[in-house]
Amino acid sequence: MNYSQNELMIAAAARELQGARVAFVGVGLPNIVCNLAQRSHSPNLELVYEAGVFGARPARLPLSIGDPTIVTGAVSAMGMADLFQLYLQRGLIDVGFLGAAQIDKFGNINTTVIGDYQKPKVRLPGSGGAAEIAVLCEKILVITRLNKRAFVPRVDFITSPGHLEGGGARKKLNVRGRGPEAVITDLCILRFAEDTREMIVTSLHPNVTREKVQENIGWEVRFAEALKITPEPTERELELIRDELDPHGLYSR
């Protein structure tokens, strides 16, 4: 079956949610990923939206993270003070799913500025809930397309901390969250080395070479010894993406 690199990325990212109980759903790609997981292998996955919803069962792909379809039929709709304090800070969220404008080799994420904060070259949207999601969810998954502008040796601004300078740096923060566990891109999947906490490529998507991956990363990246090939999306996953979740192909073409 034919599929796009984006469709593969989305399906691979959704599979990372297997076994998770409660996911904090970010804007954009994470939104389609979490909804795909709930509609395929993880029907009991509870979706939390920072807009103030727990246990959403969206009847359509939510057009934004505050779409009315996430409210109708949800278990609970509440103010944002309760969502952030009683769910996120209380420690009820297993997985936070984030996007990234810039990410560095230790998984630190920048969604604030390119260039200097006071005189930015590009002003990005900012944190939203990402700064707190990054430290309060038990683990973090990141989904973003692989390219040299995004994958930089060091981010211009740490909006959401990953493993900071690597090694034991994050442990010293003394926060609940263990930080980023995987980065799912359109070319490969990267995870973090146990000791250095540096990103390493652990799985190449079908027909993607090491060279192609290296070309799109801003530092000399390491590859896992047991490098895998990412499984292709199933027919069911593609059907769900194409027929239900993204019929106009906004995210997946």
């Binding site: 807009a51 952030f84 930015p120 002003r123 809930g129 700064a131 707190e132």
Partner: protein, 303 residues
């Protein structure tokens, strides 16, 4: 007490040049009707507060009414960047604006402190983030119990909050369902409150479901009745988000010229929200959702 007045009157009387203004509503209940009237009345030097400046503050920034922005996520949700916001920050056009930047939780905490008249509010965020380095209002302190360290933010107390809702009575007792965002906190945090509703109801409707009341008339200065006043955002149970418009805005706002032309046609060129609704009628009709009623509940008569 009957507090129902026109939007024109409400903005003239309760929003002043130089004020700190919060038009809240997270995706849901964003009061574009009020923003457009503020633009029409050419208010000056406003400090605008919102978690998500969204298209509403993008329009106000483009119109030049904004001096400073207190915010936590300045994107066009589900679409991309806010172009007028970027032009103001990156190039100072049409004027430069100051930024007072937090995360969502941080700004929610500021409203919580403001609403409860607390001098600060503690939260577990910002560890490892660069945000405290660029904003001295995000501070770390030690807990008075044990040796835990925690971040704190100061209260936010706008001069005026403008909050959209499904319904209120003429006294301003206001009920909201769906995403309630920080509507309650912003109302209690502010010195003055304008409530804008889709529907004016009798006091007995409010009193029939007291748990649904989020803002009491006690803190409300004006009630404005403005159906479709939140378009192109949405009102749960009444109309859908006009997502196509959020996408179109990306094109409209790419250049100052096209954006200004849009403001001329849809804001300056109209006298009221009623005219906007009339002009937008065909499009608005398509946004009506199907029905999904809550099960009625019994409070019991105790006499």
């Amino acid at each position: 007490m009957n507090k129902v007045i026109s939007m024109q009157h409400a903005i003239r009387e309760f929003v002043h040049d130089g004020d700190t203004v919060a038009i809240e509503g997270f995706t849901h209940l964003i009061c574009f009707a009020a923003a457009h009237e503020i633009i029409r009345q050419r208010k000056q030097d406003l400090t605008l507060c919102r978690l998500t400046p969204d298209m509403i503050y993008d329009q106000m920034i483009a119109a030049g009414v904004c001096k400073k922005l207190v915010f936590s996520y300045a994107g066009n949700p589900g679409v991309g960047s806010l172009q007028a916001f970027r032009r103001a920050v990156e190039k100072g056009e049409p004027r430069s604006i100051e930024l007072d930047e937090f995360s969502h939780f941080g700004l929610v905490a500021r409203y919580l402190a403001g609403a409860a008249r607390l001098p600060f509010y503690p939260l577990k965020s910002y560890s490892g983030s660069d945000l405290p380095k660029v904003n001295s209002q995000i501070r770390e302190m030690q807990s008075p119990f044990g040796d835990e360290k925690i971040f704190v933010v100061p209260p936010l107390n706008p001069d005026v909050a403008i909050l959209h809702a499904q319904r209120a009575d003429e006294n301003g007792n206001t009920q909201i369902w769906g995403l309630t965002g920080v509507q309650k906190e912003a109302a209690f945090a502010s010195q003055r409150v304008i409530v804008v509703v889709e529907e004016l109801v009798s006091e007995s409707v409010i009193r029939a479901d007291p748990n649904r009341t989020m803002i009491p008339g006690l803190i409300v200065n004006a009630v404005v009745v403005e159906p479709f006043g939140a378009h192109p955002s949405y009102v749960q149970g009444m109309y859908d988000r006009d997502n196509a418009f959020y996408v179109e805005w990306d094109t409209i706002s790419r250049e100052a010229a096209t954006l200004n032309a849009w403001l001329d046609e849809w804001v300056y060129g109209l006298n009221s929200r009623a005219e906007y609704v009339e002009k937008m009628r065909a499009r608005l009709e398509k946004l009506k959702p199907g029905d999904a009623y809550a099960e009625p509940i019994n409070y019991g008569a105790y006499t």
